[in-house]
Amino acid sequence: MSVDHPEVIPEVTVSSTEELKRKLNLPRKGYKIGEDDEESIEAWQKHDTMTLNFGPQHPATHGTLRMLLNLSGETVVKLDPRPGYLHTGFEKLAEYHTFNQFIAVTDRMNYLSPLANNVGFACAAEKLLGITIPPRAQYIRMIQAELSRIADHLVSIGTHALDLGAFTVFLYGFRQREFIYDLFEISTGSRLTTSYTRIGGVMRDFPEGHVEQLAGFCKQFMMVFDQIEGLLNHNKIFHDRTQGIGKIGAEEAINYGMTGPSIRACGVPYDLRKDEPYLAYDQVDFDIPVGTEGDVFERYLVRMEEMKQSVRIIEQCLAQMPKGPVKVDDHTVALPDKSKVYGSIEGLIHHFKLIMDHHGIDMPAGEIYHATEAPNGELGWYIVSDGNGVPYKVHIRAPSFIHFAMMPRLCQGGLIGDGVAVLGSLNVIAGECDR
């Protein structure tokens, strides 16, 4: 039974797995093909294999991701990632929206950390404009970005552990995420679709008493953090499912374009917050967690440590945050205060000039690339502007897309169950992957 076209799902002619194993003359149960054992993979491919559709509707794919697996028994001989099932045309939408309007669209990309997307796009547009936002707005953006990093990592670790059979971590993690979403609700007015940043600052200042709430969150979060760590760090089943799985070396990971916690797990201390500091990240103290092995377990450890460091950053931001405006004092970029709009004719004119069609922010012609350290890796924004109010083209370097392309390298030769572990550890978000 040979499969010429990968989309064709062939009939399985063997009656049982045992028969298939016998037919293929598998050496022993759980046998894994080594990384450089290409010859045997080819030899196996000549044998009959079974094609299996993993997704797009599968609970372990965390979204509409699809992978075509060629299986020999339970061993993955070939893996073919098929993105595009959640294609929403966000990049095309950018060409029909003004810069501020597009921020509402960025919420929907990585739906586990919408605020990180908001911050990333606003920073890129400000770089093109050549403006610096007030320090308070920078600190607010940092706090929100770090909070969303914690929320993203909690879901990532929770669902990862859930796929491997540890249900408790998921629930404790989600409780904390709920706290974070409550905080988002208070500061932005929405839980998921935050749309919080604006070009030149943020939508509104933190409400009264919000700093204390944030401090309260940081304080109780470390408690739950210890619980999650206690449940997984010394769990034998978790060890067996994750250690030595999806291993990749530093050099190869760099060649593939891996970023974020995944590359740090390989031992590369690559963190845009330190390497190319944006906002006020050069004024806070934090460590870059790195691993040595580059397997699924290390990616989990790096994510855990990152949450700890994020809490550290938030605490420092709360202590250092100055008072002042949260938008640039430039009427060609940021909307004036409502009191000015209601009370003065200049304020009203500036307000109208920014919103009316064919007016808006006076964005210069040119192109810019700006990348921020999103929870999953380097989230890059390449904006081409032709001087109109809308971008000529926006390209988004989505870390999930690049990580999803690495799935064959990380999974081929392993078992199907390992594929689930690897997918969970990379935290591939379909909305961001397909854009």
């Binding site: 706290f179 010394h234 034998k236």
Partner: protein
Amino acid sequence: MSITVKNVSLPRGKSWIDNTYVIPVFKGLMLTFRHLFKRKDVLRYPEEKKVLPPNYRGLHMLTRDDQGREKCVACEMCSTACPADCIRIVAGDGGWEDSREKHPVEFEIDELRCIFCGMCVEACPEDAIDMTDMHNLADYTREDFIYNKERLLGVYDEYIKRHPDHAKRRDGVFKKMMNSSYFTVSDVEKAKHGTGH
């Protein structure tokens, strides 16, 4: 700030305690058991309802002026700023008896198209459109979700009945809320317990 790198690797050789699997299981069960005696985090909806912040971005409303007319002057700023293109306005002449030059004859918001980003509220120069804390919208047909002017004014009437201090709430009176259902520092200390593992 210098770059500090922290290695988080754990030693891989499993200790015999981890290998027995008895003690880790016991520890995990202890942690779960302790959660039995902790404060429950469940809200019994719909009997109990969550307190939503004053700036929550829910269903829209059209506010009324002191004479009971809509404040809107049909400048179409909101429909221009809307990223989802869900607001439709037909402007009309105010006439002699009306002190306003322009007012909306028709004002429709398609709540199914709306993405609740709040940019219309930001764009309004007259404080005429605002968002409420109503979020549980349900209806039978798609047409029912197209809110016309009368319905949006009705939302305002309903909202102002519940929150007569609407303007003050917007100015940032968050203290009452902080003491209600949201966690505070003292709240956290009350619920403090030993760490797991």
